[in-house]
């Protein structure tokens, strides 16, 4: 079936070519990092995780969100999602691949990555994260591909695939829960030490992932022959709306606990985030941008009129996506380190090399997504 990705019009190949160039550029920067060490990034002794792990965290959410299509479609037989469930699954494949790439580029000794398998360590959350992420990648490739292949042959999907589909539902929840546990179990990092971390992660994931899917569906509707169906898009929009409300609510819960209890180790981080601490305001513009985008998103999405019109819906979804990208991809990880456990403040500024690698990995993800979508859409439009 993969050969279907080799046929396409000019703009398809221009897009693929563009992505390949970005991937190549990112790889070039990565070679630089391999040669010198992680010192080429803006990370430091105090802020020892940065953009890479931030992107990883955000993308785990995007990957997990496939469940928002799989669950209604397969568990509740919600036929409307029939056309786009595969898009969710393939989005998950691309997102998990990006996650794994971000982990690898973040390692100080990537040549030793296999030590995680050679010395399996069940008490480490990172070990479990590797297990669930790889499992999820496998499940989504396997399920998506098998179902699509059946569709290409115009036969119903084989029965034995069902257990894998059902397994993928709790598995999606597990990847984001385990990723939240990376943070939520660390003593002495007041910003992350919160039981609501996992629910908050899931809330934002189920908003950001489907928001991206809506944007993709709107794009495909406009520029290709593939139409996901307005009803499907509307259902997704409702999911995004509720998830976004929950996500904001969870953050407000966090703010209440922190500011009402007034425990300094917890409060300092939030102060740094929103108003700056001892004159350091590095994260402030980002956090306010995210807050304003979230407000716009809520206004646009809660109002049925604006939710129901493609133009404003696109604005709402873009606002959701970027608001949460800032929140999880940038501020969540970095603010955990500021102030440090010794209550010193070292700010973090990513370097050009680091940003280049980040762009490269994103391009790789878009490349995988474009190719898989090309295959899926060709099958869908041919069999329709």
């Amino acid at each position: 079936m993969l050969e279907k990705a080799l046929r396409g019009n000019k703009s398809y190949f221009a897009w693929i070519g563009f992505l390949l160039i970005l991937v190549g550029m990112g790889f070039g920067f990565y070679l630089r990092q391999l040669g010198f060490g992680l010192g080429v990034t803006g990370m430091s002794r105090d802020v020892s995780w940065g953009l890479y792990i931030g992107q990883f965290t955000f993308l785990v959410g995007v990957a997990a969100s496939a469940v928002m299509l799989v669950l209604p479609y397969y568990l509740h037989n919600y036929k409307v999602f029939g056309k786009i469930t595969i898009l969710g699954e393939f989005l998950a494949v691309a997102a998990v691949t990006m996650c794994l790439s971000f982990i690898v580029v973040d390692l100080g000794r990537p040549d030793r990555a296999f030590n995680v398998l050679l010395y399996p360590t069940p008490n480490s959350v990172l070990f479990w994260d590797m297990v669930v992420l790889n499992g999820y990648l496998f499940l989504n490739i396997f399920v998506g591909w098998t179902v699509l292949e059946a569709e290409a042959k115009s036969v119903p999907p084989p029965k034995w695939i069902k257990p894998f589909i059902y397994l993928s539902i709790p598995w999606a929840v597990s990847i984001h829960t385990v990723t939240a546990f990376l943070y939520a179990g660390l003593p002495g990092r007041g910003f992350w030490l919160s039981a609501i971390m996992a629910p908050r992660f899931l809330g934002s994931a189920f908003a950001a992932g489907p928001a991206l899917l809506i944007l993709i569906c709107l794009f495909l509707r406009k520029y290709t022959k593939f139409d996901a169906g307005w009803e499907a898009i509307q259902s997704l929009a409702k999911i995004v709306t509720y998830a976004m409300i929950l996500s904001v609510f969870f953050v407000l819960c966090e703010l209440f606990t922190v500011f009402y209890s007034q425990i300094p180790e917890h409060m300092y981080h939030f102060l740094y985030l929103f108003v700056g601490l001892h004159g350091h305001t590095g994260m402030m513009p980002w956090m306010w941008a995210s807050t304003i985008l979230a407000a716009i998103a809520l206004i646009v999405l809660i109002n049925p009129k604006t939710r129901n019109s493609p133009g404003t819906l696109a604005i709402g979804c873009a606002a959701v996506f970027f608001s949460l990208w800032i929140e999880k991809g940038i501020t969540l990880v970095i603010t955990g380190y500021i102030p440090s456990p010794l209550e010193t403040i070292t700010e973090y500024h990513p370097t050009l090399t680091e940003i280049g690698i980040v762009v490269g990995v994103w391009a790789l993800g878009f490349l995988i997504m474009s190719v898989l979508y090309k295959v899926a859409l060709t099958v869908k439009t041919e069999s329709a």
Binding site: S48, F114, G188
Partner: protein, 262 residues
């Protein structure tokens, strides 16, 4: 290319280690040996710990850093001279940074007047319940039976999960090759390579041959006292019995094993 081959060899080597090493040694072994043993001179503690006596430190010459310097040269610690890349096993910092959350205007006043603004020594606490060990995905950092939280630089993958987990900022990544930044190499001790995490090892290499940690040896005022907590007659136990001490962030349940006499 070199890197892939290297990692291939490493995997090959490791799998050999897992499945093949024992038979090989057995092959030379015959009846009599070979064997692995501890040095008979080694200090054998059950729970190593350290007491830092600020009152004694106060008697030293102004700006004394003998302990820090001794550690740096014993362990080939590079000096990058910038806080971003800096590597520190033991260092001096002010009370508010060493004990955040415990400061108040009056204790700050005490430190300023009675302790003459003396800085506090901070290092890895060799926690009894170490979060760094809990999170490491490859057991590159591990707790030895004698309580020392050790590092295996051969195994560390540089994920820095432990740096996020340590509540005392005791851990350092080698953001680049440290060798060019080592002032004078100590030929007895290895350096580290880029991409691995390092921290204080309580001088386990010295304890193994019956010597005290380098910082303890270096302090002329005997402000650093090292010993075995399980031995009721040890000097550390005597100090803990007779003097009130505090630990850094004991409320986190890490059970830190560096005790401070103010």
């Amino acid at each position: 290319m070199d890197d892939t081959r290297r990692s291939f060899l490493k995997i090959a080597g490791l799998s050999m280690l897992g499945f093949g090493a024992k038979p090989v040694v057995d092959a030379v072994a015959g009846a009599g040996g070979p064997k692995f043993e501890k040095d008979p001179k080694a200090f054998n503690g059950k729970r190593w710990a350290m007491v830092v006596d600020q009152q004694k430190c106060l008697k030293a010459k102004d700006g004394c850093k003998d302990c820090v310097l001794a550690c740096n040269s014993a362990h080939n610690i590079p000096s990058f001279n910038n806080p971003k890349d800096e590597i520190k096993w033991i260092w001096q910092t002010s009370f508010e940074h060493a004990f955040p959350g415990q400061e108040n205007p009056y204790i700050n006043d005490y430190i300023k007047t009675s302790l003459k603004g003396l800085p506090f020594l901070v290092l890895c606490n060799h926690c009894d319940n170490p979060p760094c060990v809990r999170v490491c995905p490859v057991q590159a950092t591990f707790r030895r039976p004698d309580g020392i939280v050790a590092m295996d630089y051969h195994r560390c993958i540089g994920c820095r999960f432990c740096m996020a987990a340590c509540p005392y900022g005791a851990r350092n990544l080698n953001w680049s090759d440290p060798r060019p930044f080592i002032k004078k190499e100590n030929p007895e001790y290895p350096t580290r390579t880029r991409g691995v995490v390092e921290k204080c090892n309580f001088c386990s290499e010295l304890l193994a041959v019956g010597k005290l940690p380098a910082c303890v040896e270096a302090c002329k005022e005997k402000a650093l006292v090292f010993g075995d907590l399980e031995d009721p007659n040890s000097e550390v136990r005597e100090l803990l019995r007779t003097r009130p001490t505090i630990q850094r962030k004991p409320q986190l349940g890490t059970r830190p094993q560096i005790y401070y006499i103010l």
